[in-house]
Symmetry: C2
Subunit: 530 residues, 2 copies
């Protein structure tokens, strides 16, 4: 009692929206609706509505520590649901509507959510899910009206009338900052989905990290288009970071096509657009086809998949924007690295550097740090306040003995400290005792104009253990010889890296997040040749 | 054990320097020495030296929780001492060399530091201090050599030879993030000095807040001149924030005159300069006198005293920089508000807005929130993770019943959320039961070309309780009538606000931080007229 003290100040997410409401009351959240109209609300009003949504949820039996699920697009109502759930100390379990009903039900069974908040247009899917996930007692409909025939089990309730009748505003916060606030299952492209439990502390610190100049650099003067979905990896933390800065948050609803996004960017003066590379290809092609412009747009933040350098160059030249590459994963809340806007040279293959609050380590496969951390490829491990320690429902730690989380990625760090992801450890092919990295082969074949998507997997082989085979989805129906596909590899990879076989697929199987589904490819094509 | 968890990751300051060393190993700390030369070191080497300074301190008996004092200018060695002390869990008690030896000794007696790290040129002062503060056992000299006659008590040791011989690198961190890391006594311009104990958590979160785009916006591409002293209010957190971002940290040593600063800015490509307004007046006058330029300088961050709008306009016009006004106090670690760089209109009287992590409240004198938080003057209260809860050595909280810290400032918040400090509650004069705010009178008189410094205090008055009197330091020796000084007040303040008397002082008494010492003025001139 003689040393003095600083204030107790729990890092809880209710403070984020309250800060926005108090200091940026009229800064807006804008949502593109299905009917082509936009709706808008200031943070002060949004905070009040969110508190009353908490009231509705409380009246439905929700409380601290309980899971409440959402199956919805990026919208004002979804943001309100997040803060309503998290503010009262419940846990927001976001579900990906692009998954199969069985997969969603599997996740819901694990989280035990009894209330599922659902976009009106996703109600049919939600019903299928609820048939399988028997814990779900209520579907609470947002973003549109449930059809008349909404009776039955589980009960279907419309949020808006309940909200109109509710003046209850349960207290927010007032719990420990390490309380869980969110749950999201990984995409499972390289294994069974695993649940990551976010805490108030981790998401608060993650948001503060994003606001740094050399990270996502969101300012109160920005209008930020969040294309990256709220149902996956927290929409990269934007529903926290943008209100925290007092910026305008622009939400595209269900539609991510170039036409819709261009219209939204122009109408809302979007300065910063955030999403996966393919989305921006769509925008670019729309603008090229129509000759239209997006003059307010200053930068595009990409991540979630490798950024093709040709696309990056086209975007920067055609749109006059700066592209910021990033790297992250659900287990990191999800941001790991960002290329600072101020960097003069920003190659597309670079994913940027970690800001204070997260650290990276390059190790050998057993987790021993490589003696040289620069310019050496190895296993990428991560540490930080917003990095998973233990998956949902697991008793064992996800960390190694030194407290690092193994991302499963292969990477190197260049002289200037930039991260370059070079592959996935699980995708490596072991042939005759030596490793083959499919990413290097895919990059060469994937750059061919005839190829739309390319994947290389290992096929069981009696002599070598595994041998690489190439699977391609071609751009046009025309004939392309194996030699055309494989010849560019000669001289660029070791001769024994060249695939033994080529399989042409009418359409490449993709996982729900848009990544190539290598698990399925391996299941179908990875067995020994009969 | 079924919910999953994010990583434990204590927010301790060792992580800041380790982050800088790992991700920005060659970014530099540059120090201007007494001899006009500069010395420089990269963060990787600085981190190693700091660890070995911890080793030296440990060998001298220092350990977790112990106070170690510093009496030094802004220099590399002072930065190393900070991290060495804080990294091992000791508490860095910074002392202001502009105070009297008695005052410094009083503070040292309270903290009980046994080791005092001292700049060579401050050794005479340190000896006077140590004669009075008997707990001090050792003076450890940095930034120059102690004279030969350094024997006696307390022992005078030179750091550099000890460091050269020391290969011990004690473990850093590994303690609770709420452990104390620093101690600084307030300037005491309005009362007895009070000690503020900073914690690792509070200083880490404060540094992260400064890095936000709409706060201090320090980037890895910046070269930051920290004129604001490390012995006062943590040099506004720059010794944490600049390494955290990987920027260059430029330290002026003892000399803050315009000539020295201009040379340093040019030589080190300074982009961002941080200090109190008077320092920039010195720089401006030097540049105007010599016709020289500082082309790399993009912005000047000011705080610690009101920014005259004429000076702000001159700086922006003459130097082509943007001036960012701020407000803070030792009790806030010290940053409270910052005017975002992106603001189109930035009046000098505005101090900007709080970033996520700190909150402001305008109340009546009893702490009841004003119903309108905008455009209403009241008592300014603050809440946040880097705001004092309890002063050093105190048992009682410094907070009100709702958990807010009363800053003692009077303020209002404009429509856009900008803080405008309007006075100090303790400086208010109560005349005939009504309040007079001296700041408003001082602003009018202080703007007169003949006036260098103006202060208004209350003088005891048999009839009215108190009546205002004006004290001035004139710019030149020439005659200036009372009427010349008081006439501009008519029509701008209430007639009964006009001071009853004018006192001309050859030199205004200043406290050690450069603020007008109103305590002394009140003691000398505040009694009833005889």
């Amino acid at each position: 009692m003689i040393d003095g003290a600083m204030q107790p100040y729990a890092l809880t997410l209710d403070k984020v929206l309250d800060h926005a409401a108090k200091w940026h009351p009229r800064a807006e959240v804008v949502t593109a609706r299905e009917d082509g109209q936009t709706i808008r609300i200031g943070y002060a009003d949004l905070a009040d509505r969110s508190r009353r949504v908490s009231g509705v949820l409380q009246n439905l039996g929700a409380g601290f520590g309980m899971r409440i699920a959402t199956l919805a697009w990026n919208s004002q109502a979804h943001v309100e649901a997040w803060y309503a759930i998290m503010g009262m100390g419940a846990v927001c379990h976001t579900l990906n509507p692009r998954l199969h009903a069985d997969q969603i039900a599997w996740m819901l069974d694990r989280s035990g959510a009894r209330i599922l908040i659902v976009s009106a247009d996703l109600l049919p899917l939600a019903r299928q899910v609820a048939e399988r996930a028997t814990a779900v007692e209520r579907l609470l409909v947002i973003d549109g009206e449930a059809p008349e025939s909404a009776a039955g089990r589980p009960a279907v309730l419309q949020l808006e009338p309940l909200l109109g009748a509710c003046q209850d505003r349960p207290a927010w916060g007032q719990f420990d900052e390490t309380s869980p606030c969110g749950l999201c299952f990984t995409s499972g492209t390289t294994g069974a989905p695993k649940g990551v439990t976010f805490t108030h502390r981790s998401s608060f610190l993650h948001a503060q990290r994003l606001l740094q100049v050399d990270a996502m650099a969101v300012s109160g003067a920005d209008s930020v288009l969040a294309v990256v979905p709220m149902f996956h990896a927290n929409a990269w933390g934007l529903p926290f970071a943008v209100p925290a800065a007092g910026g305008k948050l622009v939400l595209p609803g269900r539609h991510n096509d170039g036409t819709s996004l261009a219209r939204l960017i122009r109408a809302e003066g979007v300065t910063t657009a955030v999403g996966v590379p393919t989305v921006w290809l769509g925008l670019l092609e729309h603008l090229e086809a129509t000759g239209a412009d997006v003059p307010t747009l200053k930068r595009i933040v990409v991540g979630g998949a490798p950024m093709p350098s040709a696309l990056m160059a086209r975007l920067e030249t055609r749109l006059g924007v700066r592209v910021q590459t990033t790297w992250g994963m659900t287990e990191l809340s999800p941001s790991g690295t960002v290329t600072p806007l101020g960097d003069a040279v920003r190659p597309a293959a670079n994913s940027g550097r970690p800001a204070l609050g997260i650290d990276l380590l390059i190790t050998d496969p057993e987790g021993r740090p490589l003696p040289q951390q620069r310019n050496a490829e190895g296993s990428l491990r991560v540490r930080g306040a917003a990095v998973v320690e233990r998956y949902f429902g697991e008793k064992a730690t996800a960390l190694d003995a030194d407290g690092w989380f193994d991302t499963g990625d292969l990477a190197r760090i260049d002289e200037a400290g930039n991260l370059i992801i070079t592959g996935r450890a699980k995708d490596l092919i072991k042939s005759g005792g030596e490793w083959i990295n499919p990413v290097e082969i895919e990059a060469v074949v994937g750059a061919l104009p005839q190829v739309s998507l390319a994947a290389v997997i290992g096929r069981l082989d009696a002599k070598w253990g595994e041998r690489p085979i190439l699977l391609v989805e071609l751009r046009d129906a025309g004939e392309v010889s194996n030699e055309t596909l494989l010849a560019p590899l000669r001289g660029r990879v070791a001769p024994w890296w060249i695939p033994d076989a080529v399989v042409r697929l009418p359409s490449m199987p993709l996982a729900a997040t848009g990544k190539i589904d290598k698990i399925r490819l391996r299941a179908e094509y990875g067995g020994a040749t009969p």
